[in-house]
Symmetry: C2
Subunit: 227 residues, 2 copies
């Protein structure tokens, strides 16, 4: 529908559809519980049902949609329980990543981390900043640490877990005071990683996640009951 559906690379259509639908789900344009009807989606996106179906298969495996036996796909509803489950796993793996990053990051990795951190700060201090750009900068910052672990699988799993909570990121970053504390948390983490102090970095990252959990908790409580 929108003009940004025409992703002008040469990707298989299933990938294009997959990315488009995923973004729509994560941004909340497709709401939890909403049915994904193949013909309608195919029509909107200007493709046939085949790539739509394959994209749905991928989204299903990623946990963003669930299949009802003979009723097709619908956007997965995230319960608070599931969110806690995700965060529990994520905390553990973020801590692992912190340790391993401290062990294995190269100097270039360090440089990339500092640059990403600076970029995030630059955006975050602006009281009227673009939230989309800010979430992307946050993701980019954490990605530099993930990459520093030199563990592709860990990278992939963490990226996926983070994605599960994307819908809440916007809420999360709206608050300017939260943004400020985020910036200082990032700086602390960077110092610890730069000093290759795994113990400290792991502890800081753990707190970082705990803080996120608190905010998300509150955010969920405030939007109770929309089914």
């Amino acid at each position: 529908m929108g003009p940004d559906n025409e992703i002008n690379e040469f990707l298989p259509l299933r990938e294009v559809v997959f990315l488009t639908l995923r973004k729509a789900i994560l941004k909340g344009e497709l709401q939890p519980g909403e049915r994904l009807m193949e013909i309608a989606l195919a029509g909107r996106l200007g493709v046939s049902r085949t790539p739509v179906r394959e994209a749905i298969r991928m989204l299903e495996h990623e946990g963003l949609v669930v299949m009802k036996p003979r009723r097709g796909a619908q956007v997965a509803k995230i319960t608070e329980q599931e969110l806690n489950d995700v965060l529990e796993v994520r905390k553990s793996l973020e801590i692992l990543a912190a340790y391993k990053a401290c062990e294995r990051m190269t100097e270039e990795d360090m440089k990339a981390m500092r640059e990403a951190g600076a970029e995030f700060r630059k955006l975050a201090v602006n009281p009227r900043c673009d939230l989309t750009a800010l979430t992307e900068a946050d993701v980019a910052f954490h990605d530099t640490i993930y990459r520093g672990t030199q563990n592709r699988r860990l990278n992939q799993i963490l990226a996926n877990l983070r994605e599960q909570m994307y819908r809440f990121r916007f809420e999360y970053l709206k608050d300017a005071s939260i943004r400020e504390s985020l910036v200082s948390e990032h700086e602390e983490i960077m110092r610890a990683v730069a000093a290759r102090d795994g113990e400290l970095a792991a502890g800081l990252i753990g707190e970082h996640i705990d803080n996120q959990q608190k905010v998300i908790h509150a955010s969920i409580a405030s939007m109770e009951g929309e089914n």
Copy 2:
């Protein structure tokens, strides 16, 4: 081809194909690097290309096959690096699972664990035992602990990570002396969990994984160079 392709439940064909192909890959019937040609597979399984393609999409997302840009799918080759990556993540999550299981397991969970442990021992002590049944018993044992965490996501990720190494499980369990030490490790773990001693259980599970890693390492070294 084989007579067990006709899985007689009412599942979508894509699921049947998915399960069939996955089993074939994990058992090594489809070897790493082997191409998965849609028409050939569809013919063999007596279905059309559509469910085969959707199954491949699922396998791709599970990491068991990789897509070459315009050359279709092939069974993923597991490099030693990737295996180490998987084990690093897995160890961290197994330890998390041990802690949480100690906190959260109900008495029924404990009972299920003890029964699964006993079943595994029964099979393992038989010097001429069925390896397939044994791997299944091992999986069942660890599953009781995963389930005890009450964390579905953790469960799912651990099950997936374990699957990545399935091809090596058979090698692993062939050796009778290894089976013996496995039994005693399981018993130790059970005692720790039953006592809800998270610290101890986590340590033991960590060693359990380390031991696995050593054996798999050796197993890979011995089959060096089959591309």
